[in-house]
């Protein structure tokens, strides 16, 4: 099982990506870590080249809502959006917590949105839930 892990173009933080890679590896995933300030093209080619079981976007600089829309839009227009579950988490808005509009906007493009105090626990639970049938199918 393979995950492509990335940030968004404007976010230079890396500790979140280091942490997420370790977490995913401990859950048994092979991780392709695209690093911080990830250009949209690199995310597209990461998905295309590695055919991952999930795309995980982790970002903490508050521009996640705006920039993830571009990423999802690109994946969609290239016909790659339905091939891979897309998950996003971290601090996604400069205001801290997300507005209901922002949440529904993110949910339209992403299969999982993880933010706030319980983000990591919810993410782990989500991955455990979704990986089992997949494993069984293999």
């Amino acid at each position: 099982m393979k995950v492509v892990l990335s940030s968004i173009p404007s976010d230079s933080h890396t500790w979140n990506l280091v942490y997420m890679q370790l977490l995913l590896e401990e859950m048994g995933y092979e991780v392709v870590n695209l690093g911080s300030c990830t250009p949209v093209e690199d995310i597209i080619s990461g998905v295309r080249d590695h055919q991952p079981d999930a795309l995980v976007i982790s970002t903490v600089n508050g521009h996640g809502v705006a920039e993830s829309a571009k990423i999802a839009g690109q994946l969609h227009s290239l016909g790659l959006a339905d091939d891979v579950p897309k998950l996003i988490g971290g601090n996604l808005a400069t205001t801290g917590s997300l507005t209901p509009e922002q949440v529904s906007c993110l949910r339209a493009s992403f299969d999982g949105v993880f933010t706030g105090e319980r983000a990591v626990d919810d993410f782990i639970a989500f991955m455990n839930r979704s990986s089992r049938p997949h494993q069984a199918a293999n």
């Binding site: 404007s10 230079s12 890396t14 500790w15 370790l22 401990e26 870590n33 300030c37 250009p39």
Partner: protein, 428 residues
């Protein structure tokens, strides 16, 4: 013309035995920037003004900075290139001088345009480095950053030759903000210092960021000083600059202030020329000017009354360990090539230098660090780096992996340590 206010000011304060304190501060607008600098200038302690550059300019997206400025959007720093040299010079008119030098702080891997603009603005001091501003924050190939920084150093040298002595501070004492053991921070500082000198910089500073243990940091600063004396050309003017902790900051006012106090003590005991402060707002948001002024005054007061009591025997033991490894890393790099830039590049490509947890493509990322039970930053795995230790210092002695939970614990080590309510004393 500015003859080199920064270098002269540091020399004078060091002769007086006074620590210079310096904030991180940047505003989008010219007037706000000037007003902020004016208040710093008047804060009543030995201080150098800082212009922190915005995040668009840092990644060379000058048009985005221009749009933000035009549309009145918030910028998290001063867009120096967008304002231009002339407007920046006018903003500093009557403000910058022998009693108040100004430094530009930026975070740019490819800073040629920024260097040109700041020099044209009459500013004589900035910071960064080919490794320290490339590996932690950018996707720029290391080779490209090395070439860019060589060009920038030569710009500073050329201005110095025309009468404005220009200063460059290496940011290598900070790699990723936390969890980089001192032997590598010190070696990288020496290597960047040598790189600056080789490209004509005549006034430089070597940095060190506060870690997880005062006594280990004191020992590391001694090593930095010793190696600078041994390796830097004798005609170079240099001093040490300490950064208040650059990682996850305590959330409480008390905790944040305690950490800042300790960094001021470290700077004083370590004989640093300057201290870059942080504020209690750090864990939450960008600090206000007022919060910066409070930190500058607090840090300076602590430095003037610093206790020099610490465990000398322990510091001596740590000095020997850090010195040995930092020197080994420095020499193992220098022997790779006669050109310092090429030597540094090869050292990273071959994994002889390896910043733990750094995801940059030119970094091997096989080394690992841990915080040991004594609170010291140690190597859990050297990766491909040379070492004389028979073992890495991880628990049990074996080279071992660091898991996600352990990483999170280590990242929040200082936050937990300083936010914890003080323990009752023995007589309570």
């Amino acid at each position: 013309m500015n003859p080199g206010y920064f270098t002269q000011f540091v020399k004078e304060r060091q002769a007086e035995g006074r620590l210079i304190v310096q904030p991180r501060m940047g505003f989008g607008g010219l007037e706000e920037m000037r007003a902020g600098l004016e208040r710093v200038k008047q804060c009543g302690v030995p201080v150098i003004g800082t212009i922190t550059i915005d995040s668009f300019t840092r990644v060379n997206r000058y048009e985005d900075a221009a749009y933000a400025l035009r549309d009145g959007h918030h910028l998290n720093g001063f867009p120096l290139i967008t304002h231009g040299a002339q407007a920046t010079a006018a903003m500093l008119e009557g403000l910058q001088g022998p009693g108040f030098p100004v430094q530009v702080r930026h975070g740019t891997a490819l800073p040629q345009a920024l260097f040109r603009a700041l020099l044209d603005s009459g500013i004589d001091a900035t910071e960064g480095g080919p490794v320290s501003y490339c590996l932690p924050y950018s996707r720029v190939p290391l080779r490209q950053a090395i070439a860019a920084w060589a060009e920038c150093c030569e710009m500073l040298a050329e201005r110095s030759g025309r009468g404005m002595v220009c200063h460059l501070e290496s940011f290598a004492g900070c790699m990723l903000g936390q969890l980089c053991p001192p032997s590598l921070l010190v070696a990288l500082g020496i290597l960047e210092g040598l790189f600056f000198a080789a490209h004509g910089v005549c006034s430089l500073s070597l940095s060190f960021a506060q870690g997880t243990s005062l006594v280990q940091d004191i020992a590391a600063l001694r090593v930095l000083r010793r190696l600078a004396e041994e390796f830097l050309p004798s005609d170079i003017d240099w001093h040490i600059v300490v950064y208040c902790f650059m990682g996850l900051f305590p959330r409480t006012l008390e905790g944040a202030q305690a950490l800042l106090r300790e960094s001021a003590r470290l700077a004083k005991i370590g004989g640093a020329g300057r201290l870059i402060v942080k504020t209690p707002a750090e864990a939450h948001r960008i600090p206000t000017v007022e919060e910066n002024l409070d930190s500058l005054r607090l840090a300076y007061d602590v430095s003037e009354n610093a206790s020099y009591l610490f465990d000398q025997t322990e510091a001596n033991t740590l000095f020997a360990e850090i010195y040995d490894h930092a020197r080994l890393l420095t020499e193992a790099t220098l022997e790779l090539h006669t050109g310092i830039g090429e030597a540094i590049h090869q050292a990273f490509i071959t994994g002889r230098l390896d910043v733990p947890y750094c995801l940059h493509r030119d970094n091997a990322n096989r080394s690992r660090s841990i915080i040991d039970p004594r609170g010291y930053l140690q190597w859990a795995s050297f990766g491909g780096m040379p070492h004389r230790a028979t073992r890495a210092s991880g628990p049990g002695g074996a080279q071992h992996a660091v898991g996600s939970a352990a990483l999170l614990e280590m990242l929040s080590f200082n936050q937990r340590k300083y936010d914890a309510p003080p323990r009752p004393t023995a007589c309570e």
